[in-house]
């Protein structure tokens, strides 16, 4: 099977007066049709920037400076072509015909992502009218159907509601309805459950999984919560400081982690099997400031397996270590790496 989306060596930097923020600095991953890919990593590691790059939503002073984002695009005639999203004009027609129609977004903050002075019906119907060749009445019918699908009570009346009239959970459901309006093949959910309480969180996750099966979409699910990843993802990408540390099927990541960072991350989750009174291990050190990236492997200053002269000299490439997992770490890689500055 060929991937729906292939991100290769993606680099997105922000050019500030104070210096360059290398928010994403060489990211690789694939998303296959119908697959749920979870991207995990600590706050600020570049998860949002990665997916905004995929949708060409990066604003000045940020820019995609390198890499490919290959996507299986269906053009107007219904033909399938592979295009490199990284090469597209962010304001151009092609990317606009993909956004919302083929790749849809569920944003981090549902409250702020609806306009407070337009009804949710207006905003959902707009998404439909932009991409589907239907009249207003038909758009309204589809909007009601989508709201019904996401479990919104009284969908007809809710079309006239404003986002601030809804509870957090319903607001997120309305947002999901809007994102699914045009049946996207790839749904990108950027921490869709951080803003809502735990019970509602579980409902929203279940809803997403149900809809994913019904519509047979692929999902990129972003979170810093490994528990959520365990519930929802088929495949996991672990990010640290703008790079992928490890990726693999969810069982392998949880039961057979390879990268020292993944191991440290897993150890820091509370477990009911741990002996009582045992202190929860945390990852030593703190995330470096974006301007002062460590040389070599970005994780080396906090790594337990740090090898002086190796890890701080060059950046390890993401390499397959078996037929399932890929890791970027010199513990597994003796082949030539990316030399600093190249």
């Amino acid at each position: 099977m060929t991937p729906l989306l292939s991100v290769r060596n993606l680099k997105t930097h922000f050019f500030l007066d104070e210096g360059v923020v290398k928010a994403v600095d060489g990211v690789d991953f694939d998303v296959f049709p119908g697959q749920v890919v979870g991207i995990v990593g600590e706050s600020g590691c570049g998860k949002s920037v990665t997916i905004k790059s995929v949708m060409q939503l990066i604003q000045k002073p940020g820019r995609i400076i390198d890499g490919q984002i290959l996507f299986r695009h269906h053009d107007e005639a219904g033909r399938e072509t592979i295009i490199d999203l990284a090469q597209l004009d962010p304001h151009g027609k092609t990317i606009r015909s993909i956004r919302g129609a083929e790749i849809a977004l569920i944003p981090q903050e549902p409250m702020a992502s609806f306009s407070p002075v337009h009804t949710i019906g207006d905003q959902i119907m707009e998404a439909i009218l932009l991409h589907l060749d239907v009249d207003e009445e038909e758009a309204r019918r589809i909007a009601v159907e989508r709201l019904h699908e996401v479990g919104m009570p009284n969908p007809e009346q809710r079309l006239n509601a404003y986002s601030w009239e809804l509870s957090g959970g319903l607001r997120q459901r309305a947002m999901i309805a809007m994102s699914l309006a045009c049946n996207p093949r790839l749904l990108i959910a950027d921490e869709p459950t951080t803003a809502i309480d735990v019970t509602t969180q579980a409902q929203v996750l279940n809803l997403l999984l149900t809809l994913q099966k019904q519509h047979n979409m692929a999902i990129i699910f972003i979170t810093h919560d490994l528990g959520v990843i365990a519930q929802i993802a088929d495949f996991v990408v672990v990010m640290y400081l703008g790079r992928v540390m490890e990726s693999g099927p969810v069982e392998d990541i949880f039961f057979n982690p390879q990268h020292p960072y993944t191991k440290a991350l897993l150890e820091s989750i509370p477990s009911i099997y741990a002996p009582a009174g045992k202190r929860l291990p945390t990852i030593e050190g703190s995330i470096p400031h974006p301007f002062s990236r460590p040389s070599g492997c970005p994780f080396h200053p906090r790594c337990k397996a740090f090898m002086p002269g190796v890890c701080n000299a060059a950046i390890p490439k993401l390499k397959a270590i078996n037929d399932r997992q890929s890791v970027s770490c010199f513990l597994y890689d003796h082949a030539p790496a990316i030399v600093e500055g190249s």
Binding site: H91, R96, E109, S113, S115, P116, V117, H118, L130, Y162
Partner: protein, 328 residues
């Protein structure tokens, strides 16, 4: 919404009553009355009046009555459409202010339309093209607009027009139309004259509005709903005009309320410099001459305009912003 407007309209008489009391007593506050200043004027020109004449004059205008009686006579008259007589001009106030009021409102409307239709696009372009050449250009323009007093602009333009084109740009009518009755030709003549003072007055407002619009829009452009609209595949212009511009304009709409009266009082100097037959200079003269009934009527008209202005901006705001509609 209709209910909200009705509620506001019902408040109108009450507000007008309160303002009329204020207007009356503020006008009465300075020591002396019209007769005192009239005597002083006579004395300055060498003549005088005897006590009996003075009393007769006071009685004629009701100035010998207690204040409360004077107030009710004044208000009672206005309710019957009788605005009283100007002590200074010795003419009915209605007659004095009728045309001036119309011209003032016209000038105000023209100024308003010019400043908004310039400022909003300038603000939008500056914000969407932040730090571009055009943004810097408008920033400089705005600083100049805010920093230059309007009467200065008026003087400079007057001088330029006179010394280069030999035309006089003062007044709102050509000499032959000043006292002519209304006709199509007079309206056309008015329009020929109106645009320049309107432009001068608008310049200042444009600069202020454009700066606020730019700042508001820059704030809104970074909001997540803008990114969401992009993620839906909307084109940049369409989404900017539909979402952030709408939200950036709302705070500006609430300034319309005090715009109307401010324009009237703010234009006094320009109207004097340009010799415009508007209300401003009339108020100035009535105050210096203690022509209190005229001054009272004009102040009351200002208050009325302020109330109407606030009502208009509140209704507009409620119409534009559902959050405000719900509270109302």
């Amino acid at each position: 919404m209709t209910q909200y407007i009705i509620k506001r309209l019902l408040l109108l008489p009450l507000l007008l009553f309160i303002f009329s009391v204020f207007a009356f007593f503020i006008i009465q506050a300075p020591p002396g009355d019209f007769v005192t200043s009239y005597i002083a004027e006579l004395a300055a020109s060498g003549s005088s009046m005897d006590q009996a004449q003075i009393e007769a004059l006071r009685e004629q205008y009701g100035l010998d009555q207690p204040l409360i009686v004077q107030y009710f006579r004044w208000v009672g008259g206005m309710l019957r459409g009788d605005f009283g007589v100007s002590l200074d001009w010795k003419r009915p106030i209605m007659e004095l202010i009728k045309e001036r009021l119309l011209l003032t409102v016209l000038l105000g409307a023209a100024t308003f339309i010019i400043s908004w239709s310039l400022a909003i696009p300038i603000g939008i372009i500056s914000a969407t093209k932040q730090y571009s050449f055009i943004d810097y250009f408008f920033t400089v323009f705005n600083y100049l607009g805010v920093a230059t007093p309007t009467f200065m602009t008026a003087l400079v333009l007057m001088w330029l027009a006179y010394s280069y084109f030999g035309i006089s740009v003062t007044g709102l009518f050509s000499p032959e139309y000043v006292d002519a009755p209304w006709s199509l030709a007079r309206v056309i003549d008015l329009l020929k004259h109106l645009w320049l003072p309107a432009l001068i007055l608008a310049l200042d407002g444009t600069a202020r509005l454009a700066r606020v619009m730019r700042a508001n829009l820059l704030d809104e452009l970074n909001k997540p709903y803008v990114e969401m609209a992009r993620a839906k595949g909307m084109s940049e212009w369409r989404l900017v005009l539909k979402y952030p511009v709408h939200l950036a304009i709302n705070p500006l709409v609430s300034t319309i309320g005090w715009y109307l009266p401010m324009l009237f009082s703010g234009s006094v100097i320009v109207a004097t410099v340009l010799n415009l037959p508007t209300i401003g200079p009339l108020l100035l003269r009535s105050l210096t001459n203690q022509d209190m009934f005229l001054a009272g009527v004009i102040v009351l008209i200002y208050c009325f305009l302020a109330i109407i202005g606030t009502l208009i901006s509140d209704v507009l705001l409620a119409w534009l912003d559902p959050r405000i509609r719900m509270e109302a």
